[in-house]
């Protein structure tokens, strides 16, 4: 029951954060949802066309970028409780918007790794329960992308 519980909890998070942003910014959910679905299909087309080859270096680079961003958010979150703020991360303005755009770029590239995992898992004849594992990975990336789009559009509306 791990995967359905994961989706249920992600849903609670997504619904609540959407309600918070929707209270402050009109039409933001539709914008973020459209941008997320658009990015998903664009990255799927890029993957299928082979324009961006998924090499070991590419995979390592994206994984390191994701790790760095997660670490940044962890520091920011810890800072929230002990009273300091990571500069620019949650602020508007050109630098704040630029940082969010870069994070969205990394999340979008992470979708390519998810698609590549599907193909590699099938080719390696992984057991059937891995379908749930890879499905969870894709949902995780999509939720991350959606939240980043919410943050981006809120910053754009604020400025």
């Amino acid at each position: 029951m791990t995967a359905p519980i994961f989706a249920l909890l992600e849903g609670l998070f997504v619904g609540t954060i959407s309600a918070i942003y929707a209270a402050g910014f009109e039409g933001i959910i539709f914008q973020a949802l459209t941008a997320t679905i658009g990015t998903l299909f664009m990255m799927l087309m890029l993957y299928k066309s082979g324009i961006i080859p998924i090499t070991q270096k590419f995979r390592m680079g994206v994984s390191m970028a994701v790790g760095a961003i997660m670490l940044l958010y962890l520091v920011s979150w810890t800072g929230y409780f002990i009273g300091f703020e990571v500069p620019y991360l949650h602020e508007g303005g050109a630098i704040g918007i630029g940082i969010t755009v870069v994070i969205i770029g990394v999340a979008a590239l992470n979708l390519l790794l998810d698609f590549d995992n599907f193909d590699k898992g099938e080719a390696a004849e992984a057991p059937q329960y891995m379908e749930w594992f890879f499905g969870m990975g894709l949902i995780f990336t999509l939720v991350w992308l959606y939240v980043e789009f919410l943050r981006l559009f809120s910053k754009l509306q604020r400025d």
């Binding site: 995967a3 849903g11 609670l12 619904g15 099938e122 057991p127 749930w132 894709l138």
Partner: protein, 96 residues
């Protein structure tokens, strides 16, 4: 493509050997406890189907929390989902 030579930790020889041994363990367990059959291999279409199922659960859950928001849902959802996401990294056979 030779996955045995990949440097990706997910597809390293050690990880693939772990998949296989977990699948073997599960198979012998299944004989006694009628657990799901793990002889079947994963497919891309299977992943897509499972992703749609998870997306449907996520949608229903998010509509519920959107309609009746609560302060507890945000940390519960974020920390809970992150925690549950990493559990299968320890033991893949507990999936789904």
């Amino acid at each position: 493509m030779n996955f045995g030579r990949s440097k990706n930790p997910m597809f390293s020889e050690k990880a693939m050997a772990k998949f296989k041994s977990q699948a073997m363990d599960h198979r012998s367990h299944a004989k006694h406890q009628s657990a799901p059959n793990t002889n079947e291999k994963m497919t891309v279409s299977g992943v897509v189907n499972k992703t749609f199922i998870l997306a449907a659960i996520l949608l229903i859950s998010s509509l519920f929390s959107y309609a009746a928001p609560s302060q507890i849902y945000l940390p519960l959802g974020a920390l809970g989902a992150a925690g549950v996401y990493f559990i299968p990294h320890l033991d893949l056979t507990i999936l789904p």
